[in-house]
């Protein structure tokens, strides 16, 4: 098949950005080659997984995706221009219009109340209002992207800091109920030093695992009843066993596309203890026999990405990744892939499609990732926290220790570690209590459910009510406009729906509209219930299936929808 390529030519800096990426991946240097030379053919097309990194390279270099730039990478990778365009258009971070920089201001459920004032102080510079940037404990959050590979995260953001482009450095408050297990090294051990990690007990788990054998590790993980910490609570040992029993090449994916509003636990782990994440992936690889690992990290986490890349490189230099990991006779290495602004890509099968250079739309399940995952191979996909917990469990630590990112109207917003079974009230106490009277608490992020102040003694665990989700806890005081909060959640799902299935594509927009009518005094509970039913029952993936949960719980608890006239 001959592809019809674009006529527009790439600029020097666009070519350089793409060339640098591709040559690092073993593509030939075509400098000086006349005209439109195609090199690679099927070999190039087989590296479709480089499409997303190449789009990032263009966007990082010049700030947008031009026709010439897109055309250049399409030729290099033998990708049809229409397909590459459809992929680029899928992500919020890419635009087809030239721009100097983009200032993204979070206006989600935690940062939202600050957004207007912040934007008003920005001298009229153009901003994009974006969903949760994962820095809720330091609200408000801003993320700036500028040509020339510059990405700046600012939290807490002030107009001056944004205008100066100066990152504000405030450490995330860390709190613990009981023994720190997952957060033991965060804030105390240098995250950029492998030696420091080892001195603090790092890589003992991998060493113990290779001594004891994969079966023993699996038994330990199973006995600890470790369940997925990304939100789905799937038993980790079951996934690992399924992939361990699979044939041929296998893959370990670390899902670091943390984007659930109110959730920032994986960011803190990656920033504060990146080697533990690498060790967790290596442990999973040893147990399952996977040779390739991918860390898929959200595009709004540049510091976490830098730390993870640094940890992977240091581990590789020390022989802890590569052809013979730690001299234990197995091969494993990790590639980092960056998301580009799409909540849906945290859904495991959408994540696979995103890595593979396709639109980040979910796949039908079954087949499950353990059967046919990334590149069609048996794949273990685990959340960052799950992998760090697996490392701790291998060292006989309590597998029931969980992270709770807490924000909103509490004295000390931050990341808290507590045993599963802890009550919401105890967590709020640990965070210094509410700043004023509580109106409601949202557990589990936008896909979660609300609690009323009288119900805060409920405990949080896998499989109990309210659903644990990501563990995010956002506290709203009595001054909060809950109609606005619920509306923001509904708009979040409308904006983040990939658009593939009808229930989610149209249902999420109808939900926003019905909520608007609710604000006008019309009570349309039946319509909202029907929308919730079709979203829950007939959407392809978890995004759509959970898109009505918070709305429904707000209605049930009469936080919204009660005639106040």
């Amino acid at each position: 098949m001959d592809l019809r390529h674009l006529i527009a030519q790439a600029t020097e800096s666009e070519r350089a950005a793409v060339d640098r990426l591709l040559q690092a991946e073993g593509f030939p240097d075509l400098t000086g080659t006349p005209g439109r030379t195609a090199v690679g053919g099927r070999t190039a097309a087989a590296r479709r997984d480089l499409l997303l990194p190449a789009l990032h390279a263009l966007n990082d270099a010049v700030g947008w995706i031009s026709e010439g730039g897109l055309g250049y990478l399409c030729e290099a990778l033998s990708v049809p221009p229409a397909e590459a365009y459809g992929v680029a258009a899928f992500y919020d971070q890419f635009t087809f219009e030239e721009r100097a920089e983009v200032v993204r201001v979070c206006d989600d459920i935690v940062c939202g109340p600050y957004a207007d004032q912040l934007i008003a102080g920005l001298d009229g510079i153009e901003v994009e209002r974006v969903p949760c940037l994962g820095r809720c404990e330091k609200a408000p959050a801003v993320f700036i992207q500028q040509p020339g590979f510059r990405r700046t995260e600012i939290a807490p953001a002030t107009p001056k800091a944004v205008l100066d482009g100066e990152p504000t450095s405030v450490d995330t408050h860390i709190g613990v109920i009981g023994e720190p297990i997952l957060l033991a090294r965060v804030g105390t051990v240098d995250p950029e030093s492998l030696d420091a990690y080892r001195t603090a007990g790092g890589y003992q788990a991998l060493s113990r695992a290779t001594d004891d054998g994969a079966g023993t590790v699996l038994d330990r993980i199973e006995a600890a009843r470790l369940r997925g910490r990304g939100g789905a609570s799937f038993p980790a040992a079951a996934k690992w066993r399924a992939v361990a029993g699979g044939q041929g090449h296998k893959i370990v994916v670390c899902n670091a596309d943390e984007s659930e509003p109110g959730t920032f636990k994986d960011r803190v782990l990656m920033e504060g203890d990146p080697f533990a994440v690498v060790e967790g992936m290596t442990l999973a690889a040893y147990v399952t026999g996977a040779e390739r690992g991918f860390l898929y990290i959200r595009g709004e986490y540049p510091l976490a990405e830098r730390r993870m890349v640094g940890a992977i490189e240091a581990a590789r230099s020390a022989g802890l990744l590569g052809g013979d990991v730690a001299g234990a006779g197995f091969a494993f290495d990790v590639e980092v892939r960056r998301g580009a602004g799409a909540y849906i890509c945290g859904e495991e099968t959408s994540l696979f499609n995103s890595i593979e250079g396709l639109r980040g739309e979910p796949r039908a399940k079954p087949p499950f990732p353990t059967q046919e995952g990334l590149f069609g191979l048996p794949t273990v996909v685990n959340n960052v926290e799950t992998l760090v917990a697996a490392v701790a469990i291998t060292m006989d630590k309590d597998g029931g220790s969980k992270l709770f990112p807490m924000s909103g109207a509490i004295a000390r917003p931050g990341l808290y570690e507590a045993p599963l079974g802890v009550s919401v009230a105890a967590l709020i106490d640990a965070a210094g209590g509410p700043t004023t009277d509580i109106q409601a608490v949202l557990v589990g992020g936008a896909a979660g459910t609300f609690l009323l102040p009288k119900d805060l003694d409920v405990t949080l665990d896998h499989g109990t009510e309210p659903p644990l989700g990501s563990g995010a806890i956002v506290v709203f005081d009595t001054a909060t406009d809950m109609v606005a909060i619920v509306d923001r959640i509904a708009r979040f799902f409308r904006d983040e729906s990939c658009g593939k299935c009808v229930p989610c594509r149209v249902g999420t927009i109808r939900q926003v509209e019905a909520l608007e009518r609710l604000g006008n005094g019309s009570v349309e509970r039946e319509t909202l219930d029907d929308l919730a039913a079709v979203l829950r029952d007939a959407s392809i993936c978890g995004l759509g299936q959970l898109a009505a949960e918070a709305v429904q719980s707000a209605l049930d608890l009469e936080l919204i929808g009660v005639r106040r006239d």
Binding site: F96, V502, E513, D530
Partner: protein
């Protein structure tokens, strides 16, 4: 002999090939499950969710078009839960897309008791200008239900031309060329295989579009004659649609083992000379 599995469909025990989908197994048993995005000649997109059925023990409904049967599966193709989901899918579609050229879908919406009007007049609808940038087919994406059929037919499932894609996301997702360029400036080879698979008239051959605009399109007055394309030696079957002595459209049967419904630009569009002005001798 292929492996078979024992399953139960609507209370009836049946054996089905182990590699069959629920849709295929149900059809074999004589139970029709409604579909929209599914087409036998294309990879199931699993997008419209109209074909959802209840599988005992499953948390959510399953798409019959792409879920494979499993030993012991107990399936309900109709239930209050299934009907509610289908009614809502239809309500969502009818309320957002112009389905005037998809009468079967509108009938199905009636059958399931869909009330698209309850979303109010202010509800968002899919709006795109009609694209007549070429002389062979018309794109009216206000009629598009995003079934992905045209993209599959243009791409891996048939033509391997990859001229069109789904662009953007969510409710704004739409069919497009790269950078939205006009079809003649895109990779499109005008085979019309996208038109052939479109279920809602969002893609329609220009002759039909013009006649419909003029109120002259009358399927009841048309005859369809099967013949074999004379342009080359492949042997594609053509269905020639004739109204009042004039060819108005050419298609190819989906169940034909040479074409599977596909044609090239010549077979599908190269017929105007039949009734055109006589060529100079």
């Amino acid at each position: 002999m292929t492996d078979t599995v024992q399953i139960t469909i609507d209370g009836v025990d049946v054996r089905a090939p182990a590699d069959a989908t629920i849709l295929e197994a149900a059809a074999k048993q004589g139970t029709e499950v409604p579909t929209l995005c599914y087409l036998e000649t294309l990879t199931a997109a699993n997008a419209c969710r109209l074909c959802v059925v209840e599988v005992a023990g499953a948390r959510v409904l399953a798409p019959a078009c792409s879920r494979q049967v499993e030993e012991g599966m107990v399936i309900k193709t109709r239930s209050a839960r299934v009907d509610r989901a289908r009614r809502m899918v239809l309500e969502l579609l009818v309320s957002s897309v112009d389905l005037s050229l998809a009468p079967e879908l509108l009938e199905l919406a009636d059958e399931y008791g869909a009330e698209p009007g309850r979303f109010g007049d202010a509800g968002a609808t899919v709006e795109h200008p009609v694209n007549t940038d070429n002389g062979l087919y018309v794109q009216d994406l206000s009629k598009c239900v995003l079934c992905y059929r045209c993209v599959s037919a243009c791409g891996d499932d048939a033509q391997h031309t990859y001229a069109i894609t789904v662009t953007d996301r969510g409710f704004g997702a739409a069919i497009s060329t790269e950078f939205g360029v006009a079809l003649p400036d895109s990779a499109c080879v005008f085979c019309g295989n996208c038109v052939a698979v479109c279920p809602t008239g969002a893609l329609i051959v220009t002759t039909e579009y013009d006649m419909r605009q003029a109120g002259a399109w009358d399927e009841g007055a048309q005859t369809v004659t099967r013949t074999i394309c004379a342009y080359c030696g492949v042997g594609c079957n053509l269905d020639v649609h004739v109204q009042e002595g004039e060819i108005v459209k050419v298609t190819s049967p989906f169940d034909h083992d040479v074409t599977a419904g596909n044609l090239c630009i010549k077979g599908r569009f190269g017929w105007s000379h039949v009734s055109g002005p006589a060529s100079p001798a």
